[in-house]
């Protein structure tokens, strides 16, 4: 059912307006010494996402007030965007906004948490010369992220998708004093571009499949209904391969944005940006857009049941990739000494959990983890930023310690976020979502419980490395120099308020999906329906159909069979909490005394470095080197063609002496002759037949080759 809501367009527009105004302020004050009026910039920058948040709340209320069954959405078509020409039919794509239950959930935390982080940034970046430019970028990021979530079609989402990538690039490179940061920014961008290939191709293939019965569309509601339509069952069966390929390609795009293996290496490097950026983009919002997209296309993934890669279906691939990434991120997180890098690897690992959930068809659980993770990880990052701010840009945990008393409020909320991420129960939202993921994993068929076991072990490692971070930062004797220690201060109020709100949120939001009576009724009848199932009920209109479909596939015998096979509702929280406890105790035993290797100046060494080293090396071998080889060969051809000066030829020339270099010039005659060889070949191919074509064509090619040789040696 479609409803209209006239104010919908304001949600993305207001941050865009903020970005434009702040950009104008930044440009207008470029020549002045002091820069723009910071108060005005701050006001605009915070107000814009704040107002978006308010409108989102209004829209959510309106959506919630319609309780008819079925997938209800607020829609606002904006304009006819472009048309797609396809043999057989023509199809116009309109740019439009769609606000359904999934969008509502995503937007609430995107704009809510986004506003808080903007507020925090005001404090964090106040002294920076590029304050206005930074806030403009942040606002533009909000705009892109909102477009990604609220767009009603794949191309709309892609526009936002690339927009957030662009902002990520701009913000990572924001402090571009050194080239390392710039390289990180460029790496992030190129890696994401590779992922985008998958996104676009997947979208095209999906379009191709759907247009096979003349209903091609890239609109999400059309995609869902196409897959849910029983009339298309045969069509789906006959196109399973293509559907699987489309799903796999889109998932490949998601791995780029959400930093999953294989496109993972950019995220830890992206920590070069200012900390609020890490909190907003690289922890809370942008990196979760991959999960969002999988959930958005859940019907596609649910129906992609044919093996596409090594005998695995797309969902199984997602499951495995998520699992491997989670394990890898956790282990790598264990080895970091830079507090932000540790948190970055933890993000990678947590995203792995979300993908695992999506891989078993538990999209609602995946989104629930997105939701809780946004709170506790944002808190952790903002807390880390507060620590870095207080310690005057010290990020090495080996030179921290004993900050509990010095930064009590930061510590308080980081403690609760830690409590949440390692999965301690009741006051940690992370335990709710993570335990649900584990539960679904153990609930699955055949080998998914094994993955569940791995995930449980990973939870243990998570507890260890997160406790390590806390011990090294707060709970161990100080290893700071005296003057650093003297300068340590608690952050200003404007930074503490967002931390407090988010930290409090990370304590409580888990209860949105919880057994209200602490599961008492569950003891009576297994799989009780009692309790606050607010979150999954809320998402059911969007995801329900796909989840039901997947569930039937996994448990063909029906609901009852599943219930018998599943573990008790208490089992997972108990196991998860146990793992968290054990992990904490292990970490306590090791790091309570602040025992770390002597801080090596500058370089990150040891195993941690070798992990990134490993992946960078794999990259080098599989991507960079082949590209370089091709580039080299072709450049050689071109340069030879115009008598060029590629390094190899120059070296050859030097080798042969000055007599040769004087001849190695891009002469007009050479260019003309090569062009003419092209003319001859083209004429031969296009016009002539038989032996004559061969003679002319080969002559053209032969002359070209001879010329290249002559340019080299004559």
């Amino acid at each position: 059912m479609k409803l209209t809501f006239e104010l919908l367009w304001l949600i993305p527009f207001l941050p865009l307006l903020g970005a434009i105004l702040n950009g104008a302020l930044s440009l207008g004050s470029a020549s002045s010494k002091r820069g723009p009026a910071r108060g005005l910039v701050a006001l605009l920058a915070v107000l814009a996402p704040g107002a978006s948040f308010v409108i989102t709340v209004l829209a959510t209320c309106k959506l919630a007030s319609h309780t008819e069954p079925g997938n209800t959405a607020l829609v606002q078509p904006l304009w006819d965007w472009f048309a797609v020409a396809v043999p057989g039919f023509s199809f116009k794509l309109s740019a439009g906004l769609m606000f359904d239950h999934l969008t509502a959930m995503m937007l609430l935390f995107v704009t809510g948490i986004g506003t808080l982080i903007h507020l925090y940034s005001v404090g964090y970046m106040w002294e920076d010369r590029g304050f206005a430019r930074f806030m403009a970028y942040m606002n533009f990021f909000m705009f892109s992220m909102i477009v990604l979530v609220i767009g009603d079609s794949l191309p709309m989402t892609f526009v936002g998708w690339e927009g957030v990538g662009l902002c990520s690039y701009l913000l990572i490179g924001f402090w571009h004093q050194n080239n390392e940061y710039n390289d990180a920014a460029r790496k992030a961008f190129i890696v994401n571009r590779i992922g985008d290939l998958g996104f676009l191709l997947g979208a095209f293939m999906l379009f191709q499949v759907m247009s096979s019965n003349g209903q091609g569309s890239l609109n999400y509601r059309d995609i869902s209904s196409w897959f849910q339509n029983f009339a298309n069952a045969d069509l789906i069966t006959s196109h399973l391969g293509q559907i699987g390929a489309a799903g796999l390609l889109i998932f490949f795009g998601c791995t780029g944005k959400s930093a999953q293996i294989p496109l993972v290496t950019w995220l830890p490097d992206a920590m070069a940006g200012p900390t609020p950026v890490s909190a907003l983009i690289h922890a809370a919002t942008m990196v979760t857009s991959g999960v969002y997209l999988l959930a958005r296309l859940c019907d596609l993934y649910a129906h992609a049941t044919a093996p596409v890669l090594a005998g695995l279906t797309v969902s199984q691939v997602i499951l495995l990739i998520g699992c491997i990434t989670a394990v890898w991120g956790a282990i790598a997180g264990l080895l970091q000494v830079d507090i932000k890098k540790a948190l970055a690897y933890s993000t990678v690992s947590q995203l792995g959990y979300m993908f695992m959930a999506a891989g078993v068809g538990a999209y609602d659980v995946a989104l629930f983890h997105v939701f809780t993770h946004a709170f506790f990880k944002a808190t952790l990052f903002l807390g880390a930023g507060s620590v870095i701010h207080g310690l005057h840009h010290e990020q090495d945990m080996r030179r921290m310690g004993g900050l509990t008393k010095l930064m009590p409020i930061t510590h308080l909320w980081m403690f609760w976020a830690w409590f949440s991420i390692i999965g301690l129960p009741i006051l940690g939202s992370g335990s709710f979502s993570k335990d649900l993921i584990l539960d679904r994993l153990f609930d699955g068929a055949s080998w998914t419980p094994i993955v569940g076991g791995v995930a449980l072990a990973t939870a243990l490692v998570t507890a260890i490395y997160m406790s390590r971070v806390m011990y090294l930062t707060f709970w161990s004797p100080s290893r700071m120099s005296a003057e650093t220690r003297a300068g340590v201060h608690e952050s200003p109020l404007i930074m503490l308020i967002p931390i407090s709100i988010l930290g409090f949120g990370s304590m409580v939001v888990g209860w949105l999906w919880a057994p209200a009576d602490f599961g008492v009724s569950h003891l009576v009848d297994n799989k009780s329906q009692h309790g606050i199932h607010f979150f999954n009920d809320w998402l059911a209109p969007v995801l329900g159909s796909a989840e039901h479909f997947t569930h039937q596939l996994l448990h063909p015998k029906g609901e009852g069979a599943a219930a018998e096979g599943g573990l008790s509702l208490y089992a997972m929280p108990a196991l998860g909490s146990l793992a968290a406890l054990i992990g904490w105790l292990i970490a306590r035993a090791i790091w309570r005394g602040g025992r770390v290797q002597g801080p090596a100046e500058g370089e990150i060494t040891g195993f941690s470095a070798s992990w990134t080293w490993f992946f960078d090396r794999v990259y080098r071998v599989t991507v960079v080197i082949p590209v370089q080889v091709v580039a080299w060969i072709l450049a050689w051809v071109v340069d030879a063609a115009i008598g060029g000066v590629v390094a190899g030829i120059a070296a050859l020339a030097r080798f042969m002496g000055d007599g040769y270099t004087s001849v190695q010039r891009p002469r007009l005659r050479s260019s003309l002759a090569l062009s003419m060889a092209g003319v001859a070949t083209l004429v031969a191919v296009l016009l002539l037949q038989g032996a004559f074509a061969w003679v002319v064509g080969l002559l053209g090619a032969g002359v070209a080759v001879l010329f290249l040789l002559l340019e080299l040696f004559f």
């Binding site: 526009v159 007009l668 090569l674 296009l686």
Partner: protein, 523 residues
């Protein structure tokens, strides 16, 4: 297409040429300094007027040698905008260099007039006149800095190669005339015995035009001419020549498709229309299709990988322009169905022209006196010193790289989607990978622009005109992605738009059926 009166059709063109003449007339009477203060504004005023008039230009054809329809209209508009941008850049550049003469503005306008005529031409002779008008103006612009060695060399190579390929084009026109009995496009061969002659002529003409747009293996002039020209001129020629060239290539290709399918076209073909192919036509054109794909892929590979190696911004843009010619060639490939339509090409061309002219014009502001900063180390940090132009350069380069939210993205998107839907998935994947390779060097440039400064910030020229024009163009680059259909104006025939949509079948038929052009019957 209905016949149209001379005056309304040629009014924008007249304004452009009048601008050139006015600039020429004032030029000798001005002090050297005030030449660059006054003349660009005169030119800009006339160009703005031309742009405004162009937006309301009537569609139709004139004497069967010139025609106007919606895609053509927007390509003309793109030429005018690119010229405006280039005039802004030229002003900045020439004033900074204290260049002693203002003829360059007038030459730009002549070049723009030539390109507009190329877009409008539907007759080989008219096309040749237009092509020469454009080329001769641009030759002079390329060689403008006469005491620079590389400028001389660029002029020499570009001129001689251009003249040779003009002659090849012309020979093709002669053969086509012999085979059809007419110099107009879209005439069928006289009898079967003349088919080979006709195709030979078409191929030679095609080669002449492919040379102009710099497709491999006819690309050798590109790198040198782009590098030898002043930066602002580089942007101008990059934009304007591509528009004119691809408009002509598209016209030739659509007409060839119609003729090969045995469809008589006594009227003039609307560039937005869909041409219906039959099996004969498809068989006849299969080789051409293959050639476009192969040359397109070659251009992509050579252009992108050569650009990776460059350090000069102009050379990067030159090789990237070769790769873009490759994308545009891919857009020419035949459809899987019956309707051949070049909507994505027109859209790509318009977006590319504005972004290229804009990028190099914005770069002019950062390039320093006599463009000495034209390499990655010279440009380092210039964006931080002059954030306004840095930001504009960023927007334009992002658009050329094909990243949302810019118009360049939608152009690539449409071409790739056409390829995938057509079934050329492998080619699409390859082209997309090449787009990623392209992103690498664009972003290398951008990284340099925003890096820590390593040398003196460029001295500013008078920024007013270029500032306004570029800001407008940047907005256009960002906005056009949302309204590609804003380029569409309701057409009397009801068929034409920017060609992005497949119009309903009857409308398409209407567009290619005779619409009663008296001259056509006589030619």
């Amino acid at each position: 297409m209905p016949p149209v009166d001379l005056f309304p059709l040629f009014l924008p063109l007249t304004l452009v040429i009048a601008g050139a003449l006015i600039v020429l007339g004032f030029e000798p009477f001005l002090q050297r300094a005030s030449k660059h203060r006054l003349l660009p504004w005169l030119a800009a005023i006339l160009l703005v007027a031309a742009g405004a008039v162009q937006a309301g230009a009537p569609t139709g054809s004139l004497h069967g040698i010139f025609a106007m329809d919606t895609p053509r209209l927007w390509m003309c508009e793109a030429i005018i905008i690119s010229t405006l941008i280039a005039i802004g850049g030229l002003q900045m550049s020439l004033a900074r260099d204290d260049y002693p003469g203002g003829e360059a503005y007038s030459l730009s306008l002549f070049g723009a007039a030539g390109a507009m005529l190329m877009v409008m031409a539907v007759d080989t002779l008219a096309l040749f006149v237009a092509l020469e008008l454009m080329s001769l103006s641009i030759y002079a612009l390329v060689g403008m800095r006469r005491n620079r060695r590389e400028s001389n060399e660029a002029l020499f190579k570009y001129f001689v190669m251009g003249a040779v390929f003009s002659a090849i084009f012309l020979y093709g026109a002669a053969l086509s005339y012999g085979a059809t009995g007419s110099t107009a496009f879209g005439h069928p061969w006289r009898d079967e015995a003349h088919r080979g002659l006709f195709l030979f002529g078409q191929v030679l003409m095609l080669i002449g035009l492919l040379f102009k747009v710099g497709v491999v293996p006819f690309h050798f002039w590109t790198a040198d001419a782009y590098t030898g020209a002043p930066v602002a001129v580089t942007g101008f020629m990059g934009a304007v020549v591509k528009v004119g060239g691809f408009a002509a290539i598209g016209t030739l290709w659509l007409n060839l498709a119609a003729v090969a399918s045995g469809m008589p076209i006594p009227g003039v073909l609307d560039l937005g229309a869909a041409v219906t192919l039959n099996q004969t036509g498809k068989d006849l054109l299969a080789h051409y299709n293959l050639a476009f794909l192969v040359l397109g892929l070659l251009s992509l590979v050579l252009g992108n990988f050569s650009a990776l190696k460059q350090t000069s911004i102009r050379r990067i843009i030159a090789f990237s322009s070769i790769s873009h010619a490759g994308y545009m060639l891919l857009a020419l490939a035949l459809p899987i169905g019956e309707k051949l339509q070049l909507g994505s090409l027109w859209f790509y061309v318009v977006g590319y022209a504005i972004a290229t002219a804009g990028a190099l014009s914005a770069f002019t502001a950062l390039a320093g006196k006599e463009d000495i900063n034209d390499n990655l180390s010279g440009i380092a940090g210039q964006g931080r010193a002059r954030p306004f132009y840095g930001l504009l350069l960023t927007i334009f380069l992002v658009s050329i790289a094909g990243v949302p939210p810019t118009v360049g993205f939608l152009g690539k998107y449409l071409i790739f989607q056409d390829l995938v839907v057509r079934g050329d998935v492998k080619i699409a994947i390859f082209a997309m990978i090449m787009a990623v390779v392209g992103a690498a060097y664009y972003f290398r440039t951008l990284v340099a622009v925003w890096a820590a400064p390593s040398c003196e910030p460029a001295k500013a020229g008078p920024p007013v005109l270029s500032g306004w024009v570029l800001a407008g163009a940047a907005v256009l680059t960002l906005v056009l992605i949302g309204w590609p259909n804003a380029l569409i104006r309701p057409d009397p025939a009801g068929a034409a738009n920017l060609g992005l949509s497949a119009p309903a079948a009857p409308a398409a038929e209407q567009a290619v059926l005779p619409t009663g052009l008296a001259t056509a019957a006589t030619r």
